[in-house]
Amino acid sequence: MRKTAIITPLLAAIMSACSVDAPKTFSESNEAAPISPDCYIGTTIPCNILPMNFCVDANKDFIVKVNGEKTAFSVASDNGNVCFPEEKWKQLLLENKDNDITFEVYEKTSNGYLRYAPFSMTVSSDSIDEYVTYRMIEPSYQASGEMSVNQYNLSTGEEQIIASNHYAHSTPGYRSQRCVNCHFVQRNNSQNRSFYYRGKDGGMILSYNGTLRKIDTKTGDMPFSTSITSWHPTLPLIAFSMDNFKQSFHSTYKNKIETYNLHGDLVLYDVEKNEMANVIRSDNRFESFPEWAPDGKYLYFACSDDDKNKLPFDSVKYDILRIAFDAETRSWGKVDTVYEATKLDSSATIPKISPDGRFLAITRAEYGMQVPTEHSADVCLVDLQTLKFFPLKNANSPLCDSYHSWSSNSRWLLIASKREDGSYARNYITHIDENGNATKPFRMPRLNPRLDVDLMKSYNVPEFAQTEAPFSTAEYMECVTKEKAEKAKFISPMKQNVDAKSGASQIQH
């Protein structure tokens, strides 16, 4: 384990602001407090979040006072970091559930202290899942340089690497460029989870009921390996899409990359039987981004409106469909269209349903499926009871807002957003009330508030998890370096040619 995990928080604490008293005499300014990120001003935060540390001008001295209903405390900063003591912060949040806490920022000037316009944060009584997992990767995806799947504790700010392609290489002195990706957890039991370690002798690293296995999921007549993953909420089943993603690069255009799919079908994997079966195999449509409904009765997915050879690239658009699933007979039923984005000349992908089953969160963009590269991408909601559409204007930005995940209580939505500079994705969190209204999102706080500012990597595919990863990094990497992966059995060898929009095949058992 890197010492960073131990020493960095310690040093951050040492270097951070010391406790002081707020100035009693000061002049006032109507200007907003010069803090970074400024999205903290007026946002809503969960009652169990770590301190919302932020940055100020490193060349000046500041005192920041935080006021709650009962508790108030102040911290000083002379290095640009405003860091709140963790115990006092926790107490503050506990005492102020469903109330505002206010922040007064005092800047030390030659004429004494100057107080900027105080700002507040609303403390929601809705708690947030303790962990977030994500992949850390450069904003481009060519060389598979150094990437890792990390988990971050939203209550303590501790970050750990679950697996990294930097840890394992098969030949001494040679760094293989292998991809670590697609980390997903089972909604109701986040001890069950999976991710991929691609390349030679790679496979899906599967932790299930306390066991750790490496599975080769490309089996039977599957032309491509599995990628996007959705665990059935309760059963030992995983729905996968079988994709063939490709990239092209704009020479100067701000979207920079076009990521598109040349194949897209859905398969189902039985974890306990190690069996793979078709869900939908169609030649003229793409199906991808599977997502189980919270009750496990439907599998939602994105489906392209036309054939794979359609050109130009920006004419390929996706709708959100769903297919019925009978858990008892394990058979598939009727296909419905849930959200027809193509009618609005747009594309909808990444369906994610709130655990209470009320809202479908999607990413809507002008075209395409891998929209995290498109600046037009926005996260939106569809009320599954009324089919009302919520554009979530409060939560989106003019730049790319894309990959999203629901907290287990359906009240928090995690969004990977490139709003800060158009290239580096950062995790933003917004509160969604029972009516589908979003609050101003805040950037996932860090103990060291400069970390995200200087970080030269993107947060990719962020997902909430209620618990930490069940195995240590060493155990995961031991599994990764196993020579052989278990080959999944393919139990529906016939190639089924089923149009996803008109019907689905039956899985034979």
């Binding site: 384990m1 890197r2 010492k3 960073t4 131990i6 020493i7 960095t8 040093l11 951050a12 270097m15 490193a58 290095n79 640009g80 970091n81 450069e138 904003p139 481009s140 060519q142 060389a143 340089g145 150094e146 990294s164 930097h166 840890y167 394992a168 290489h169 098969s170 001494p172 002195g173 040679y174 760094r175 092209s248 690069f249 704009h250 020479s251 100067t252 255009y253 701000k254 920079k256 990359i257 076009e258 800060e420 500079d421 158009g422 290239s423 580096y424 060291n448 400069r450 970390l451 500012v453 200087d454 030269m456 990597k457 060493a474 990497m477 370096t481």
Partner: protein
């Protein structure tokens, strides 16, 4: 033989040692020392310092990074290296106590000279994942180990306790000792015998390298190795460990071996045999382990010249390559594009190419892609490669500068601001950042102030809807729009570079109208003549060809035919022309799918 006054000789030898090392470093390793500063990112901010400090060998890395950033002045780099090596030499000279003759000067010099050879053979690591401060880390680490070894010879309890405190601290902050190394170091005190104690201390010190190497390369857990055993923040580099292992072991054990020599006061050539032999063996090992691409220094030199925007010199240096590679050619083209003279000079380049091959994980394209893509106006590709190689090859000021330039060229102020903010926190690049800040949101000003950037930007006149691919060939061939003059001409030049005259002939029929009424560049006329000589008259019918050019081509063909195997010597006068390039350059076009415009 006359006996020397040893003390004076010692001082003189220390001075001489410094002068020789400094001169060699300053004269031969300027580009390498300059390159080190790029790969040794040091930011003047507490969060940055806390992160580096938390690494294995954190404080050593922090100090080394701080010093190495000033290698932006290579003379300072040469001074820092030679001063530290001289200090190690002087310490060893003091430790070899029994020798009272000049022989001990030779003996004491061996470990320091070994280090000298080692550090300048570590250079290729710059293109692998490396912290550029390794050189200073190694030197300072060596100095500390010499001091520690001397300390362990003092037999009293205080020194033992202090050394344990130091080693404990070192484990967390300097990363000097693995637990086993600490144990062996402590055991050396119990033995109370100087020789055995020093041997044990030497084994202890050597073991941190050994464990590091074993864990990182055999057990495949680099990060663990770094955290548990790392003396320095360096990953998976066997060469590095071999060098340091040899150098450190020599420094620790060497005084004991040296002290075993018989006390003598006279110098004879015979007495230099053993240290001389040790040095030769070290040199041989160093050479066997080192990277043998002679053009490595040339690439570093080209990158330095590019940083300085000294395009004319860059052209000269690239052209002087005796065994050119694609990397050097890419920088050659970049300098030509910067000066707006590519079409006239792109084939005036040595034809004896060698395939680029490195012994370690080093992608050839990592070296030049970001730069070449930028020079051809493919800013997104340049940005992406810079982003990834920033991670792959280590934090790097050069990459940050390139990313910042890309963001300015694509007019993304927030992104440019991110990189500028990092550069501004650096002592050595704060002025540079201020200079470039005025271009944020003002690309026109940049193009107006720096003609090279104007040439880069207009090289292809890239368009939003254009896609680009990943190879040097694709940079110049993946174009479907041939109505654009620059693109069309670049496409013809690409066909010619790849010696694909068939594609040239196909393309020129469509492209010819852009030259209507004018003579095309001479190299294109020569290519058309070569087609005609081989029986394809389409190109010469499509474009105007100057009579003298046609005659020259005929003469060239006739001479070549007559000279047969000796034609290269006979055709020396045509060097620099496309005729010569076409005839004698080896083209690696295994990934080339063939030309022809897709309409």
């Amino acid at each position: 033989m006359k006996a020397f006054n040893i003390n004076k000789l010692e001082y003189a030898s220390i001075a001489l040692f410094f002068i020789v090392i400094f001169t060699l470093s300053a004269a031969c390793e300027q580009s390498f020392l300059y390159a080190l500063h790029n790969y040794s990112q040091y930011l003047d901010s507490d969060p940055f310092r806390s992160i580096i400090f938390s690494y294995g060998a954190g404080s050593l890395s922090l100090i080394s990074r701080y010093i190495t950033q000033y290698f932006i002045s290579p003379v300072f780099g040469a001074f820092a290296v030679s001063a530290t090596l001289t200090a190690i030499y002087a310490m060893l000279l003091k430790k070899i106590s029994r020798q009272t003759n000049a022989k001990k000067i030779g003996l004491a010099a061996v470990p320091s000279l070994t280090l000298f050879v080692a550090i300048y053979n570590l250079e290729y690591l710059l293109f692998d994942k490396v912290d550029g401060s390794i050189i200073m880390s190694l030197l300072l680490g060596s100095l500390i180990s010499v001091l520690l070894a001397a300390w362990m010879q003092v037999e009293n309890k205080i020194s033992l306790y202090l050394s344990i405190v130091v080693t404990e601290f070192s484990y967390f902050a300097i990363g000097m000792f693995s637990p086993l190394a600490m144990l062996i170091g402590a055991a050396s005190y119990i033995k109370r015998d100087n020789k055995i104690a020093m041997m044990l201390a030497g084994i202890g010190l050597a073991s941190w390298f050994g464990f590091n190497y074993i864990t990182s390369n055999l057990l495949h857990y680099e990060e663990y190795a770094i955290a548990l055993f790392a003396p320095l923040y360096v990953s998976h580099s066997s060469t590095f460990f071999f060098y340091t292992l040899i150098a450190m072991a020599l420094m620790i054990v060497y005084p004991i071996l040296a002290n075993r020599c018989v006390e003598e006061t006279e110098i004879t050539a015979k007495k230099f045999i053993s240290p001389g032999l040790a040095f030769v063996i070290t040199m041989v090992i160093a050479k066997l382990c080192c990277y043998n691409d002679e053009n490595y220094h040339k690439i570093l030199q080209l990158q330095q010249l590019e940083d300085e925007e000294n395009w004319e010199e860059m052209t000269k240096v690239a052209k002087s390559a005796t065994t050119p590679t694609i990397d050097i050619y890419a920088y050659y083209l970049e300098s030509l594009i910067a000066n707006g003279e590519k079409v006239n000079k792109m084939f005036d380049f040595p034809t004896d190419w060698v395939s680029h091959n490195t012994s370690n994980f080093t992608l050839s394209n990592m070296i030049y892609y970001p730069d070449f893509a930028f020079a051809t106006g493919n800013y997104n590709i340049s940005l992406f490669h810079s982003m990834e190689f920033y991670q792959l090859t280590g934090e790097n000021f050069r990459r940050i500068k390139r990313m910042m330039q890309c963001a300015i060229m694509t007019e993304e102020p927030e992104l440019a601001e991110k990189y500028l903010a990092i550069l501004e926190t650096s002592s050595v690049y704060s002025d540079y950042a201020k200079e470039w800040r005025k271009y944020i949101g003002n690309k026109a000003q940049l193009l107006n102030d720096r003609s090279a950037y104007k040439n880069f930007d207009s090289y292809y006149e890239p368009r939003d809807e254009w896609f680009v691919s990943n190879t040097i060939t694709d940079f110049v061939t993946d174009r479907t729009d041939i109505t654009n003059y620059k693109v069309a001409e670049a496409r013809l030049l690409a066909n010619m570079f790849l010696k694909d005259l068939r594609a040239f002939s196909n393309d020129i029929r469509t492209i010819a109208p852009i030259y209507k009424g004018n003579l095309p560049p001479k190299c294109i006329q020569q290519a058309a003549c070569l087609c005609a000589i081989s029986g394809d008259m389409t190109p010469v019918k499509s474009i105007m060809v100057d009579r003298t050019v046609a005659e020259e081509a005929q003469k060239f063909a006739a001479t070549a035919k007559k000279a047969g195997k000796n034609s290269k010597e006979k055709l020396e006068e045509y060097k620099g022309s496309y005729l010569y390039f076409y005839t004698f350059k080896n083209v690696n076009n295994k990934n080339y799918k063939g030309g022809g415009i897709v309409k």
